[in-house]
């Protein structure tokens, strides 16, 4: 064992950061790197590393940590490549850290205007890398390109006017020669979009508006002029299928969130999965999970590309556990519904019909007085990562079992101001709880669960070592991917609102989680 580690030391000392598209496409050839938001394009957040495994994870301990200077919710998902870890920090800082020692290499800070319009803090979920350039979407809705070797600014382009409520929070996705990114602002009545930029120059090549304009197909699903302020933002990173050259990107709630009276209709393409051609931004298909949403059930979580067997036939699927309480498996070539079922308690639909459309329970909508509905505003799950392990063929999701009392109010659009039309009160009749649930990928049937006293808001990662890493409140833990047994736990002392990653440096595997105001990196001796 000693000799083996020694052999790796000299090779890891030298690193020239360079990540052409082919490296991301072929990410499975370098299991020690984490090259894009979900490690590879499939959205699975699965690490092929197995040095840390079910047999030794009980000995996992803190290897190093990086404290951030300024406090806000710390949601970054690092990129780990060529000996360096790249992270974003609040309020708008990018740092390069030496992956072996944790020592900082450079730091970039963007000065922000002081009149930002944000629903949820100066959060950022990470970066994309292509060649030797890093890309991130800033809080004031710019797309920023930095030299990965020095942190020097290469270009800075404005995606949209932050004064109208637009912001950048999600990690962009690098596909071939383009940087694809969505935006946030769903509580401000913005009009959502997904953009494709030339990676070299920052020139915008295409924009897919997530709400069709007058005269375009789908615009008829918005009453009157309501489409102009319909939100449908795109604030979490999508997935990409190189084989069919398709990008999959989720969209958020229609605006105003809780009062649907002013936007009668299905409100396309809110709460949908959009399949796009990354070269042109042309839509291949869409699937709307929650037509005419009145509960703020964004459908922005990263979709996962997996294969599932249905009636003896292997199908190429795109799957996700939606905030609305249902798990969905779609055909990823056509967007057609394959299977779906609730994965948490839900009281708003009598199941899904043959096309996957929810059959709404009459009157299960927000009222002026308040209406009790499962799941809560936070959803059955939320933006944070689910994960799929090809070794167990299971889909793992961090769930919330919680209800909300939804109420409806007036909504009046004013640029840059909240446009909500109601809200949610918590329900005191039952204690909410959380769980990690393992679902069969083709059907969503429950295989096992590990329950938590309270629901939490953090992502999961699976590894080839047979583990599921995840967080609950301030605990970071590892479960046995086969049966959900708790194998290891660490009290971080700070709330966790992020997704884990794993990488290898100088022959050692590390597990990373941002917790509180620090990046924690765990390893074995």
């Amino acid at each position: 064992m000693r000799t083996w580690v020694w052999l790796f030391v000299p090779a890891a000392m030298l690193a020239q950061v360079n990540v052409p598209y082919e490296r991301i496409r072929d990410a499975n050839q370098e299991p020690g790197s984490w090259l894009t938001y979900s490690r590879d394009y499939s959205g699975r957040r699965y690490s092929p590393l197995d040095q840390i495994n079910a047999g030794n994870v009980s000995r996992l301990h803190l290897a190093w940590m990086r404290q951030v200077d300024e406090t806000d919710t710390f949601e970054t998902s690092p990129i780990a490549v060529d000996g360096t870890l790249f992270i974003t920090e609040p309020p708008n800082i990018v740092e390069a850290l030496d992956a072996a020692t944790g020592r900082p290499l450079w730091r970039y800070r963007k000065e922000l205007p002081n009149d930002l319009r944000l629903c949820c803090g100066k959060v950022n979920r990470g970066l994309a890398i292509l060649g030797n350039t890093l890309y991130y979407a800033s809080t004031d809705a710019h797309l920023i390109a930095l030299d990965a070797r020095t942190g020097v600014l290469r270009w800075d382009v404005t995606m949209a006017d932050y004064k109208n409520g637009y912001s950048g929070t999600g990690a962009p996705l690098a596909v071939k020669d383009k940087i694809i990114t969505g935006m946030a602002g769903g509580e401000f009545g913005v009009r959502g979009f997904i953009d494709g930029y030339d990676a070299k120059t920052g020139k915008r090549i295409w924009r897919f508006n997530t709400i069709p304009a007058k005269g375009e197909p789908g615009n008829e699903t918005w009453e009157g002029e309501s489409w102009k302020t319909g939100s449908a933002t795109a604030w979490v990173t999508g997935a990409y299928d190189p084989e069919s050259n398709t990008v999959y990107w989720g969209t958020g709630n229609p605006g105003p969130d809780w009062n649907g009276d002013v936007r009668k209709g299905d409100n396309l393409y809110s709460d949908s999965l959009i399949a796009l051609d990354p070269d042109t931004g042309a839509k291949k298909w869409h699937f709307q999970y929650t037509p005419h949403d009145v509960n703020d059930w964004d459908s922005t979580q990263t979709p996962i590309l997996a294969e599932g067997t249905v009636a003896g036939e292997v199908r190429k699927m795109v799957v996700l556990a939606n905030r609305n309480g249902f798990y969905y498996a779609l055909d990823r070539l056509t967007g057609k519904f394959i299977a779906g079922r609730p994965y948490v308690k839900q009281t708003w639909a009598n199941g899904l019909d043959e096309s996957g459309r929810p059959m709404r329970v009459p009157d299960a909508e927000p009222t002026v007085e308040g209406k009790l509905i499962w799941p809560s505003l936070g959803g059955g799950s939320n933006w944070y990562s689910s994960t799929y392990s090809p070794k167990t063929d299971l889909y793992y999701v961090n769930v919330k079992e919680e209800a909300g009392i939804y109420h409806k109010g007036d909504a009046e659009y004013r640029a840059g101001a909240f446009f909500n039309g109601g809200g949610q009160r918590s329900y005191k009749g039952e204690d909410p709880y959380g769980a990690v649930r393992a679902l069969e990928v083709a059907t969503g049937r429950l295989r096992w669960e590990y329950k938590f006293h309270r629901p939490s808001h953090a992502g999961l990662m699976t590894t080839s070592g047979g583990l599921v890493f995840g967080s609950n409140l301030s605990s970071f833990f590892a479960l046995d991917a086969q049966n959900g047994n708790l194998l290891w736990r660490f009290e971080t002392g700070g709330g966790i609102d992020a997704n884990p990653i794993s990488y290898m440096s100088q022959g050692k595997q590390y597990i990373v989680i941002p917790a509180g105001h620090a990046l924690l990196v765990f390893g074995l001796d």
């Binding site: 030391v9 000299p10 000392m13 030298l14 690193a15 020239q16 950061v17 200077d69 300024e70 060529d82 000996g83 360096t84 030496d98 072996a100 020692t101 020592r103 900082p104 290499l105 450079w106 730091r107 800070r109 000065e111 002081n114 009149d115 030797n132 350039t133 390109a145 030299d147 070797r149 020095t150 020097v152 600014l153 290469r154 270009w155």
Partner: protein, 255 residues
């Protein structure tokens, strides 16, 4: 309208926990006092007339980190995290405002036009000078030397001219050229990126990063005060230097 605006401004200031104190004093006495305070507390890094030295030049209309007076006051009071700029804890509130008023007045002074031809200077930068091999401008160029994308905002023409003919006199704060000799490995020379008791990180002229545990090193050689940049004294004619400086002065943050 104006009243409404100022009400909004004050309510934002109040909401963010700041007093609405952005208005700076502008009497002659205040400015003179501000100038005196500047000499005592700021000139060491920013130059006696704010022309820039170790710290950025302040004789410009727009200060990148202080777009408005409230932001300027906050910087004077708290410093800038992650930089060498400290907070002026010893100054009273009134003195802070006087200093801020003087700093703002620096931006109102009409600058003497810099002689030289910007276009010819750009040609020298890319051609005869070979500057782009080590320096970058808007993402294009090498990484061995500092990025120059907005050097015209932070350095005066006199400082730039001196740096070109005598680079050793203008080695940036914290810059150190290091050669390490690993036990049984090839030696590596590069700029020190970080160092503590246990490890050292370097970046070589090609932009490759290296990280070494010190226990694995036989030797660390530090070349203090040395710049890897060659002197252009005698390499460029006087007129060429003037043009090159004019080009560098023209490099400002694009908006």
């Amino acid at each position: 309208m104006k009243l409404a605006l100022s009400l909004i401004v004050s309510s934002i200031a109040l909401a963010s926990g700041m007093e609405p104190k952005a208005k700076l004093p502008n009497s002659r006495a205040d400015l003179l006092r501000g100038e005196k305070l500047f000499q005592v507390h700021c000139s060491l890094c920013h130059g006696p007339k704010g022309e820039g030295a170790r710290g950025p030049m302040l004789t410009r209309v727009k200060l990148t980190r202080a777009p408005d007076d409230a932001a300027l006051l906050k910087i004077l009071e708290d410093g800038i995290r992650g930089t060498e700029m400290p907070g002026a804890n010893a100054l009273s509130d009134r003195e802070l405002r006087q200093t801020a008023a003087y700093v703002r007045s620096l931006g109102k002074v009409a600058l003497k036009p810099v002689p030289g031809d910007v276009r010819r200077g750009a040609e020298i930068y890319l051609g005869k000078g070979g500057c782009a091999a080590c320096h970058s401008v808007r993402g294009e160029g090498g990484v061995a030397g500092p990025d120059l994308s907005s050097i015209g905002e932070s350095r005066s023409s006199a400082f730039l001219r001196e740096s070109i003919v005598n680079p050793g006199a203008a080695v940036p704060e914290g810059f150190l050229l290091v050669t390490v000799v690993p036990n049984g490995g090839p030696r590596v020379t590069g700029m020190r990126v970080n160092e503590d008791s246990f490890s050292i990180q370097l970046r070589d002229a090609a932009g490759r990063s290296y990280s070494f545990w010190k226990k694995d090193l036989a030797q660390i050689e530090k070349e203090r005060g040395k710049s890897p940049m060659p002197s252009y004294q005698g390499q460029l004619a006087d007129a060429e230097l003037t043009d090159l400086v004019a080009y560098l002065v023209s490099l400002k943050e694009s908006k």
